[in-house]
Amino acid sequence: MTKAKPNLEGDLQDQAHHEYSSELGVTTVQVARLPGFRTQSGGDLPFIDIAYQTLGRLSPQRDNVVLVCHALSGDAHLAGINPSTGRPGWWDFHVGPGKAIDTDQFYVICSNVLGGCGGSTGPSSINPATGAPYATDFPPVTLREMVRAQAMLLDHLEIPRLLAVTGGSMGGMQALIWATDHPDRVDTCIPIACCLAHNAMQIAFNEVGRQAIMTDVNWREGRYYGRPLPRHGLAVARMVGHVTYLSDYAMHEKFGRRLQRPALPEDLFPDFFSVESYLQYQGESFVKRFDPNSYLYLTKALDRFDLLNQRPAREVFGPVQARFLVISFDSDWLYAPEQSRELVRLLKRANLPTTYLNLTTPYGHDSFLIRNQEFSRAINHFLTGEYRKLHGVGVRPAAERHP
């Protein structure tokens, strides 16, 4: 195992990167207003807003589109510097000129999920019927509905097909839904660190987060808009979530048993560990950018997701045309490699061309957000290879142009 010292790690959105510069410079997010949307549960939304970012240039044949789906805490700001926060997008390490998803070659789209709080319609959006935020009147949305909303966005942008759809964690699950629900629109699918359905442990961690929010006195059945936020609940939810994204190795390397500061007279307990301080910081910084109700809706959508949903795998994967690159990380204990292997087994038995890569990294579930050359190269070569196979003509791997 490579035990390099962790430098930049974790969610780029929550890190203060004073020295960080993105090759993409400042990038922006746009919003598309799309016509009415009816959820499976019977909820009617008169219109939905979907926030999205596009990077790179669309080819005249419209055949170089890569759709990136974000994870639970992500948003449409994929890469480049966000002008309002000054921070890089969540996948800036892997999306940009000469990077894993090379914006010199591909037209890259990322949109904020339906139910989210990064510019797309969600519980914190204004309900046009009442003029007040939907709050918990927002219908419970599923991952499939998030993908359906994304498909509406692509129709709006007149994008017929995707060269690739990819994402990590919740984004990987959406990528799988794309391949199965829209088989005629997806050429390749790259699900990363995800699964076919949450197991009891994954649901359990999410439930701890939800209970933290819902038992915060400020939650008030979700109608906290215009009042104090259930910030402590959301911070605790983020703290427990964040721990599950790391590994014992990463935490040991970063914090060990170091103390954050000397004891103060007002301390209840004498030793304030660095890891406690870090988690509190993570919790507090998350509160500034995430809506507690969205956290409830998205984690519940994750827990309810089941790609097979009692159907035989043959039926689910029968119509699929995509070629797959499935990636997992050996230190990821939240979405363990065994879950990716189960996915791979089903894909292969359905005769779908599937490459599986289980990377050796020490950083746990967050590994897909971290700078990692092997990960970058695998995605880059897979994409350029598939583009060549599909269209005969080559786009060159980034490594050959940016030595």
């Binding site: 690159l325 292997r341 791979v344 087994r345 292969k348 038995r349 061309p353 599937t354 490459t355 599986y356 890569l357 289980n358 990377l359 050796t360 092997e374 190269r377 695998a378 070569h381 897979f382 290879g385 598939e386 060549r388 196979k389 791997p397």
Partner: protein
Amino acid sequence: MNRFLYDEVLHWIPSRGRVLDLGTGDGAFLERVARERAAHVEGVERDPNLVSRCIERHLIVHQGDLLDGLDQYSKASFDVVLLLGTLQELIDPLTVLKEAFRVGDQVVVSYSNFAYWRGRLQLLFTGHAPVTRALPSAWYRTSNTHFFSILDFAAFCADVGMRQVRQLWFNPGGRVRRIPNLRAEYAASLLQAEPGSALARHREESVH
């Protein structure tokens, strides 16, 4: 291994065949199989760095340990399963061969012959375990876990019910036709499971 061996093994692969390569390494040979036999190829490799090299060659590759089985593949998915230069590294070669015969109709193995004359002389005159081109590492560094000769392999085949449909032997000069157990550094065999053998039963009884 031996380039003559690879050149010959290519001819055992049916044109446009379905080929699974176990222990595919960096995929260099599998890429040749795909190109020169117009075959549908797929590899299995344990080392993530080598899996990445295969992805760079635009090959379909599965990262996994052969000893964990091949249950990601349905039975009879391949015409030929390749096991080149890997057999002597497998703690439990029979389990891997069972799985190879479950997913493939024929299996090609290649291995280094421990009874090659250079090795025999080294052992006889120096008293040390042989270190040769085919066995390049000292015993404590080698990834090999088993050491066997062409005769030993024939006995193994008879014991477990595999028929050697074709056999080829090589040394650095090329093909070896006579006294292979003494003169050949490498051997390759095209194998079939004998009907009724444990290997054949494993395939018949497999549910997927």
